[in-house]
Symmetry: C2
Subunit: 123 residues, 2 copies
């Protein structure tokens, strides 16, 4: 299936390495610089990745609103970008950021704080 | 769209909180216990999550092979599970593991080691 790729100024050498969903997206994992906390998971198309790489502000594609979403644009909980890494098969990016305030819309620091399915401390 | 949910022994209380892709999957991020390294991204259906929670070995659904995949079953690079956390909207799990050897099939420690798109040390 051909991925739906929206027009973008993304470096063609990077674009050629992406393996997108049918909706033209790659998975984006935001991780806190220094502590390594996994903050949230979201999605990027080519243009969101381009904006993330060139503006220093993590920018995603909102699947529900079908629009670009600069993290923190309304909440102030911005993500300043330190590093962006593409995975071995080109379908996920790791975005290392400095997170201002809460990453999660619920007010939690990360989107993974509230629902622990299993813990085995010291195992 | 209704997700294609394969039969599974997953706790119904957990299954009810999952928001799956049309293929019945949630995104799974494996993170090294202690160091916080993000090792890899893969996918789980209900049964893969059930096996991960109950066997202590990270188990994924291979989209390409359409079969369950116990990480390290052939390579020996197993992932012993410490924690599993579900994100706020139920479409991603964070699996905190002890990774034996390389997480990436290329032999790199993580799937994000080889392709750095942006780095701004000290920014």
């Amino acid at each position: 299936m051909t991925a739906r790729v929206r027009e973008s100024a993304l470096d063609p050498a990077i674009a050629a390495r992406l393996k997108r969903t049918p909706d033209g997206l790659v998975c984006a994992i935001a991780q806190q610089h220094g502590t390594g906390e996994v903050l949230m998971v979201a999605w990027m198309d080519d243009e969101a990745l381009h904006r993330t790489l060139t503006t220093g502000r993590a920018t995603y594609w909102s699947r529900s609103r079908e629009e670009y979403w600069v993290k923190g644009a309304t909440s102030g909980h911005v993500q300043q970008v330190h590093e962006v890494r593409l995975d071995c098969d080109g379908d996920a990016v790791l975005v290392v950021v400095d997170q201002t305030g809460a990453a999660c819309h619920t007010g939690e620091r990360t989107c993974f704080d509230a629902d622990v399915l299993l813990t085995s401390n010291g195992a």
